[in-house]
C-alpha cells in the first residue's frame, strides 16, 4: 500500500540510538539535516545525553547536536517512564517512530531478559504510537526472524515455528505484535530486517565487534597465546599441538572449523544498512517487509582464508560435517569450536533472503561484495580499537 506521507518535516522518534544500528540511523538522519527525538536510557555510568554526545563525536557530527531532542525512557514502565506532562507533549506531536532498541543476546540463559526487552516491552512503545497517532511505525527486526523452517525467506510475515535461538524467536514474535497492533490501530508500519551488519565498508569503522568479528578475535587471541609461548618460552605446548613458526616466519596454527554444511554468511556493511533505511524512510510502503541482505553472501572457506591472511597464520581448515566425539584433539581447535558455537548457524546458513521490496526502495542498489580489502579494513579498525575497548579513546 502506498500513498501515505513519509513524515514530512516532523522529527523521527528513535529508540535504540545508543546501539550499533540505532546510532547509525541517527547519524544518517542527522547527515540529511533531519531532527531526531532520542528516546533512550542512561547507562549505569553515563547519562543518555553524554552517551549520545560520545557517539556524535565518534561520527564527527558534534555540530548536529542541535537537531536532537532527548527523552529518558524506560519501556518497562507506564508512559515509558516519562512524567505525564512530558509524555503528553511528546504524544501530541505524532512523530513517526523508528523502534530499534533491542536485546541482541541469543543465549538461552538470557531468554527471560531477551523476551522482556524485545517482546513484552513493545506494548509500551506501541501504546505510545497509538496514543500519539504516529504517522509511521518502523520496526527494525532481523532477517533471521524468518526462523529455520524453510530456506526460502520472502519479505513477508514469519510462519516459522523453529528458530536457532531466543533472539530470532523474539524478533519473530515482536514482528507479529507490531503488525497486529499497527493494523488494529491503523498505524502505517514497516518491518525492516537486516542480515549480519558489520562495519563501514569504506572506512572499516564499527561500533560493535560481535558476529563477523568474534571468530577472528578468537583466532587472534589463540594465535597470541601460542606465539607468546613459542617466542618467550620453550614452545613445548605449541609443539604438542602441531603449532610452529614456518620458514616464512608465519605461525602454523592447525585449527579445523567444523560447520554442518557449506552454507553462507549473509553480511551487509553498516553504511549500506543506513543508506537503505534512509531510502525506506523516504518512501515507506505500509505493511511492507524489507530485507537488508546480500544477494551474494560469503562462505566460511573464503572468510577463513581472509582471517589467515589478516592474522598471518596458516592451518585454518573448514570441515563440512560434525566433529566426531574424539575429533577435537587439539586444545586451540577445541577452544575455538567452543567460542564459535553460538555463531555456527550464521556461518553455515542455508537461508536465502528475497529482497524485491528493498530493491524497489533503493532502486536496486546492492551491498558491496565482501572482499579481502573490506575485511582487512574492518578488522584493522577492530584491532586498533581493541575490539571495542578503546573505541572512544
Amino acid at each position: 500500500m502506498t500513498g501515505i506521507k513519509a513524515g514530512g518535516d516532523e522529527p523521527h522518534l528513535l529508540t535504540g540510538a545508543t546501539g550499533f544500528l540505532g546510532s547509525h540511523i541517527m547519524a544518517g538522519l542527522l547527515a540529511e539535516g533531519k531532527r531526531v527525538v532520542i528516546a533512550g536510557r542512561s547507562s549505569s555510568r553515563e547519562p543518555l545525553k553524554e552517551r549520545i554526545r560520545r557517539l556524535l563525536h565518534w561520527f564527527g557530527m558534534e555540530c548536529r547536536e542541535g537537531l536532537l531532542e532527548f527523552h529518558e525512557i524506560d519501556f518497562l514502565k507506564p508512559r515509558m517512564g516519562l512524567g505525564r506532562a512530558e509524555y503528553d507533549r511528546l504524544r501530541g506531536r505524532g512523530c513517526p517512530v523508528i523502534h530499534c532498541a533491542s536485546d541482541t543476546r541469543f543465549t538461552e540463559k538470557n531468554r527471560a531478559m531477551v523476551m522482556k526487552s524485545n517482546v513484552e516491552s513493545l506494548a509500551t512503545i506501541l501504546d505510545f504510537a497509538t496514543a500519539s497517532g504516529a504517522r509511521w511505525f518502523h520496526f527494525i527486526s532481523s532477517a533471521y526472524a524468518a526462523g529455520i523452517d524453510r530456506f526460502a525467506c520472502p519479505e513477508a510475515p514469519v510462519h516459522s515455528l523453529r528458530f536457532n535461538n531466543v533472539y530470532e524467536e523474539s524478533k519473530a514474535l515482536a514482528e507479529d505484535r507490531v503488525a497486529g497492533k499497527c493494523r488494529e490501530e491503523k498505524i502505517p508500519y514497516t518491518i525492516i530486517r537486516p542480515a549480519i551488519v558489520y562495519g563501514d565498508s569504506s572506512t572499516g569503522k564499527s561500533l560493535r565487534f560481535n558476529a563477523l568479528y568474534f571468530p577472528v578475535r578468537s583466532l587472534q587471541h589463540i594465535r597470541d597465546i601460542y606465539l607468546d609461548e613459542i617466542k618467550n618460552r620453550n614452545g613445548m605446548k605449541a609443539a604438542e599441538c602441531g603449532i610452529f613458526i614456518n620458514d616464512e616466519g608465519v605461525l602454523h596454527l592447525p585449527i579445523r572449523i567444523f560447520i554442518p554444511h557449506e552454507g553462507k554468511i549473509n553480511l551487509v556493511p553498516v553504511n549500506y544498512f543506513t543508506k537503505t533505511i534512509l531510502a525506506i524512510l523516504e518512501k515507506p510502503e505500509n505493511e511492507t517487509f524489507y530485507h537488508i541482505t546480500s544477494n551474494r553472501p560469503e562462505n566460511m572457506t573464503r572468510l577463513a582464508s581472509y582471517a589467515e591472511r589478516f592474522l598471518e597464520i596458516t592451518g585454518i581448515e573448514v570441515v563440512i560435517g560434525a566433529a566426531g566425539a574424539d575429533a577435537m584433539k587439539n586444545p586451540p581447535e577445541e577452544l575455538f569450536d567452543y567460542f564459535i558455537k553460538a555463531y555456527r548457524p550464521y556461518i553455515s546458513d542455508k537461508r536465502d533472503f528475497f529482497r524485491e521490496n528493498t530493491d524497489r526502495a533503493t532502486g536496486g542498489v546492492l551491498p558491496p561484495d565482501f572482499g579481502y580489502e573490506i575485511f582487512q579494513k574492518c578488522m584493522a579498525f577492530a584491532v586498533a580499537a581493541d575490539w571495542g575497548k578503546r573505541l572512544f579513546d
Binding site: 538461552e108 597470541d224 605446548k237 577452544l335 553460538a342
Partner: protein, 616 residues
C-alpha cells in the same frame, strides 16, 4: 612513626612464627625458651614498647635481644602471611639494647618475690618470671574490644600436676590468672593482671592408632598435629595452623571446611583431661565429671584448664582431590553446597567469596587485588564452592552437571595468577554465547590451553615479591603441596593471609542454609560495617550436619593501630551482636558463636538446634 616501629606495632599475633609451616625451621630461641617473648612475635612487641619508652630495659630484655641470631626465618614466615619483614625490627631491637649498654644504661633486675619463688619451685627456675620484658609480650593482642593488661607473673608448667599446683598457689594468694597455650591470640581472652599460665611447653602428641585417636597436650598447634597425623596416614579436623588444639576446642570448638563431614565441637574429640579451678584433675569420660556436653545459651566460663585432649583421627582416601566449583551468585553456590552435604558428597565443603580465594592464592596484596578483579570481571566467579573428596565424590559433581577447577587447574591458575590478570583471551569467556556458565571448564583440553596461556610457574607467581625474598619464595611455590588445594585446606597455612592488609575480626554464626536468611544477615553485616567505614567481606560458609545447618563467617577489618578504627569496630561489633540476637529471636534457628565461647566441648546439636532458645 618510622617503618621499623610501624612493622613492630603491626604484628597481628597470628603466631605463624611459632610453627614451622614453610619448612625453614623455627626461631631457635623461641623453640628453646618457649616464652612468647623469645619468638619474633614477642620481640616485635618488645621493640615497640622500648621504642615508645613504655618499659625499662630489664635483664630478660637483654637476653631476648641477644638470643636473636638474625637468621631471617621470620621474614619468610611473616612475609608469607602479612608481607612484613620482622628482621628489621630484630636488628633495631639488638641495636637499641647495644646502644643502651654501651652508654652505661641501667638494666633492671627481676624483683625478688615470694610468690614467684613459689611458682618456680613448682615449674622450675627457667619457667616462671616476673620480668617486665616477658610480661609485656603477654599483655595485649589486636582485639579491639580488649584493653592491655600487664601480668605480674608468667608461668610455664610442664604437666597437669604442675598446672594444678600453680593454680592452687595462685588461688591461695587470691591472684587472678589467664591461661593460654602460646598460639595465636586475637580475641582478648588471654590477658590478666595477675598471672598468665602459658602451656606452650606441653607439646606431647601421642598416637593410639588402633583406637583412631591422638592425645595432644595443650601446647600443640593445629599445624603440628596435622603434620604428625598426615605422616601416619591420618587426618584431623584442624583449625588455623597456629591455633592450639586444646584451646580451640575449649573456646568455640573446632570447625573447618572438613566440618561438613567430621562435624564440630564434641564431634572432634574422644576424651579430655582437665585441671579444675580448684586444682583437681578430672577426665571428661568420667561419669562424675562436670557435664560439658550440654549447652547454655549465655556467656559462660571455662570449666577448668584442658591439659590434654584425645582427638579423633580420620582416614584419608588415596584418590582424594579437590573441586572448586564457580558460581556467579551466592544463592546458586549455597544450593550446590547444601546438595553436596545432603547427599554426603565430599569430606570438606566450603562456600568461599572471590576475595577470600584471591587473597589466599596470592603471595602479595597487589596481586590479590588484581586477581580479585579478574575473578569477578573476567571469569564472573563471585563465589567458589570447594569440595574435597575421593574420586567418586568428584565424579558425582561432574555427573550433577557442575564444571569445576580440579587439582591440575588450580595449580595452573595459582602459578599463573599474574598472567591471568592480563589475559585478553579471558575477555571472550564472558562474551561467550554458551548457555551453561563456566562450561569451558568441561573442555577436555582446557587445562592444556590454560597452561600454554598462563605459563604457570613459581617464578612468575613471585614476580612482585620483595626481591630479597624472591628466590626463597620461588623455591617454595615450586613445592607441589603449596598449590595442592587438598594440602592447603588441611593445613590452612594461607588462611592467615586474610589479615594481610588489616587485622580481621570474624563474625561467626550458625544457621540453616536458607538463601533469604543468609542474604538478609549478610546484608546487615555489610550495612553495619559500611556505616562505620570498615572494610568488610563475605568469608565462608560450611554446611554442617548433612546441610541442615551451616557455619557462616563474615569478616570485618581494622587497622589495629588506629584508635578511631578500634572505636568504630567496637561500635560495629556491638550493633552486629544486637542484629544477630534479633535474627536469633525471630527465627529460633540462628546461634551466635559468642554463646558457644567456652562451650566448645558441647554437642553441636545442643547449639545448632536448640541454642536459639525459642524451640520447645
Amino acid at each position: 612513626m618510622d617503618d621499623v616501629l610501624k612493622t613492630a606495632k603491626s604484628c597481628r599475633h597470628y603466631a605463624m612464627c611459632k610453627i614451622d609451616f614453610l619448612g625453614t625451621g623455627l626461631c631457635r630461641a623461641g623453640e628453646e625458651k618457649h616464652f612468647v617473648s623469645f619468638y619474633p612475635q614477642g620481640r616485635m612487641d618488645l621493640y615497640a614498647a622500648l621504642a615508645e619508652n613504655r618499659i625499662p630495659i630489664t635483664e630478660k630484655c637483654v637476653e631476648i635481644a641477644e638470643s636473636c641470631d638474625l637468621c631471617g626465618k621470620c621474614d619468610y614466615q611473616c612475609y608469607f602471611v602479612t608481607e612484613m619483614k620482622p628482621t628489621a625490627v630484630m636488628k633495631a631491637l639488638k641495636e637499641h639494647i647495644r646502644l643502651h649498654l654501651e652508654n652505661g644504661g641501667d638494666v633492671l633486675a627481676a624483683e625478688k618475690d615470694s610468690i614467684l619463688d613459689g611458682i618456680k619451685e613448682i615449674v622450675g627456675d627457667d619457667w616462671a618470671t616476673n620480668d617486665r620484658a616477658i610480661a609485656l609480650t603477654y599483655s595485649h593482642d589486636p582485639c579491639p574490644a580488649a584493653e592491655p593488661r600487664l601480668p605480674d607473673y608468667i608461668a610455664m608448667p610442664g604437666s597437669s600436676a604442675e598446672i594444678s599446683a600453680v593454680i592452687q598457689l595462685l588461688n591461695r594468694h587470691g591472684i587472678p590468672y589467664a591461661v593460654r597455650g602460646n598460639g595465636s591470640s586475637v580475641m582478648g581472652f588471654v590477658m590478666s593482671e595477675g598471672a598468665v599460665i602459658d602451656l606452650g611447653r606441653m607439646k606431647a602428641i601421642v598416637f593410639d592408632e588402633k583406637n583412631w585417636l591422638v592425645k595432644v597436650g595443650p601446647g600443640v598447634a593445629a599445624f603440628d598435629l596435622q603434620k604428625a597425623a598426615v605422616k601416619r596416614g591420618f587426618r584431623v579436623n584442624a583449625a588455623e595452623p597456629s591455633a592450639l588444639v586444646c584451646a580451640n576446642i575449649m573456646c568455640s570448638g573446632i570447625f573447618s571446611t572438613f566440618s561438613a563431614s567430621y562435624g564440630t565441637a564434641a564431634d572432634n574429640y574422644i576424651d579430655a583431661e582437665f585441671v579444675g579451678h580448684d586444682g583437681s584433675v578430672f577426665r571428661l569420660s568420667d561419669p562424675s565429671a562436670p557435664n560439658l556436653f550440654g549447652f547454655r545459651r549465655a556467656d559462660s566460663a571455662l570449666p577448668g584448664i584442658c591439659s590434654s585432649a584425645s582427638i579423633r583421627l580420620h582416614p584419608v582416601p588415596a584418590d582424594e582431590g579437590a573441586a572448586f566449583v564457580p558460581f556467579a551468585s551466592l544463592e546458586r553456590a549455597l544450593d550446590f553446597a547444601r546438595e553436596c552435604a545432603g547427599r554426603r558428597i565430599g569430606l570438606a565443603i566450603g562456600v568461599l567469596g572471590g576475595e577470600y580465594v584471591s587473597v589466599f592464592l596470592s603471595p602479595t596484596k597487589k596481586l590479590a587485588a588484581e586477581v580479585k578483579d579478574a575473578f569477578r570481571d573476567k571469569l564472573k566467579m563471585e563465589y567458589l564452592v570447594l569440595v574435597i573428596g575421593d574420586k567418586y565424590a568428584l565424579h558425582s559433581i561432574k555427573a550433577m552437571g557442575y564444571p569445576y577447577f580440579d587439582n591440575r587447574m588450580i595449580r595452573i591458575l595459582n602459578l599463573g595468577l599474574p598472567a591471568l590478570t592480563s589475559a585478553k583471551w579471558l575477555d571472550l569467556m564472558d562474551e561467550l554465547a554458551d548457555d551453561k556458565p563456566f562450561s569451558y571448564l568441561g573442555l577436555a583440553h582446557f587445562p592444556d590451553l590454560a597452561e600454554a596461556a598462563l605459563a604457570p610457574s613459581s617464578a612468575q607467581l613471585v614476580g612482585d615479591v620483595d626481591p630479597e625474598l624472591r628466590p626463597f619464595f620461588e623455591k617454595l611455590y615450586a613445592r607441589p603441596e603449596m598449590t595442592d588445594p587438598v594440602w592447603l585446606n588441611m593445613f590452612r597455612i594461607v588462611s592467615a593471609r586474610m589479615g594481610r592488609e588489616k587485622h580481621v575480626v570474624a563474625m561467626i554464626i550458625y544457621l540453616p542454609i536458607d538463601h533469604t536468611l543468609i542474604a538478609g544477615i549478610g546484608r546487615e553485616f555489610k550495612r553495619i560495617a559500611d556505616s562505620h567505614g570498615l572494610k568488610n567481606d563475605f568469608g565462608f560458609i560450611t554446611p554442617l550436619d548433612d546441610g541442615k545447618r551451616c557455619v557462616f563467617e563474615y569478616d570485618y577489618y581494622l587497622d589495629q593501630n588506629d584508635p578511631r578504627e578500634k572505636i568504630k569496630m567496637r561500635q560495629a561489633m556491638m550493633e552486629t551482636g544486637m542484629m544477630i540476637e534479633k535474627f536469633s529471636a525471630a527465627t529460633g534457628t540462628v546461634t551466635w558463636i559468642r554463646h558457644v565461647f567456652c562451650q566448645g566441648f558441647s554437642r553441636k546439636e545442643s547449639f545448632l538446634y536448640s541454642g536459639a532458645g525459642t524451640g520447645p
